[in-house]
């Protein structure tokens, strides 16, 4: 993957997490071992190109955002619902902002609702063009995959 794509994903992730949740995002320091991500969500886009954006992230990051914004809930079911809501909205913001960073502000895209992947495994890539970045979010490991296919040259 080119450095430009890696930097664009890092920049967009930093903007999304810092502006909406006051959390810092850094490039992954290969020397350190970070707690692995245990939540995953994905969403697709259709328009000037088709594709998919997926994100894996640690539950403790989601809990931090829930705690800061929505407040933790003692009911495990409600707490899981809040984690998933945060996961989907962070991915939604990541996807929308990545599309603008990648394709500019003219094309119109239709976005699918984000879906939580129960297995927490990153989906297998289905596109020829796949950009995959590992990030350090609040000292935990996070993973973003940006897949692009059927790009229209209009």
């Amino acid at each position: 993957m080119s450095d430009n794509y890696e930097q664009a994903i890092l920049d967009v992730a930093s903007h999304v997490f810092e502006t909406s949740a006051f959390l810092s995002v850094y490039p992954l320091d290969e020397g350190g071992e970070l707690p692995p991500p245990d939540f995953c969500a994905t969403m697709t886009f259709r328009g000037a190109a088709d594709g998919r954006v997926s994100m894996r992230i640690a539950g403790e990051v989601l809990d931090t955002i829930v705690d800061n914004v929505l407040e933790m809930d003692s009911d495990p079911e409600e707490q899981m619902k809040r984690r998933n809501d945060v996961l989907k909205e962070m991915l939604n913001m990541l996807c929308g902002n990545l599309l603008t960073a990648h394709f500019g502000s003219n094309p119109v895209f239709n976005l699918s609702p984000p879906e939580v992947i129960e297995s927490a495994e990153m989906p297998a890539p289905t596109s020829a063009e796949v950009h995959h970045v590992l990030l350090n979010i609040e000292h935990t490991l996070a993973e973003v995959m940006f897949e692009v296919q059927n790009q229209k040259n209009s």
Binding site: T19, V69, L70, D85, M93, P107, V108, F109, L111, P113
Partner: protein, 129 residues
């Protein structure tokens, strides 16, 4: 004058952040109500008269585009100011929404000052009519 605000977004995170932001933006607020999608927002409008609506685009059941169109087609709500709050950054889509009567656009993630500026712009314009 105190204002009524309606926030329409399927994300509890965004509804909560938006509600807090609106309360902090220096405008006197009477009441804030929220809805998870356009259809739920239409139900809220049966007994609530907002001065401004903040609405997401990508929502289940009834999305923001359908909701805006429903308001525009309604005799009761066709002049209700709607501000779109969305992750989408397409200027083409925003131009289409403006032609359909949308008053403004805030991109997610937003800073509190983005919301304050938009409220003052939209409600200020409304009060000058």
């Amino acid at each position: 004058m105190a204002y009524n605000i309606l926030i329409v977004d399927d994300s509890a995170l965004t509804r909560t952040v938006m509600e807090r932001t609106v309360r902090m933006c220096g405008v006197e607020i009477s009441e804030i109500r929220t809805a998870e999608h356009g259809k739920a927002a239409l139900a809220v409008l049966e007994d609530f008269w907002p001065d401004i609506v903040f609405c997401d685009i990508n929502m289940p059941v009834m999305d923001g585009l359908q909701f805006v169109q429903t308001l525009k087609d309604s005799s009761e709500w066709s002049d209700l100011p709607v501000v779109i709050v969305s992750t989408e950054g397409s200027e083409t889509r925003m131009e289409e929404l403006r032609r359909n009567g949308v008053q403004g656009y805030i991109r997610k993630p937003f800073a509190p000052e983005d919301v304050a500026t938009m409220i003052q712009q939209v409600l200020g314009a409304k009060n000058n009519v």
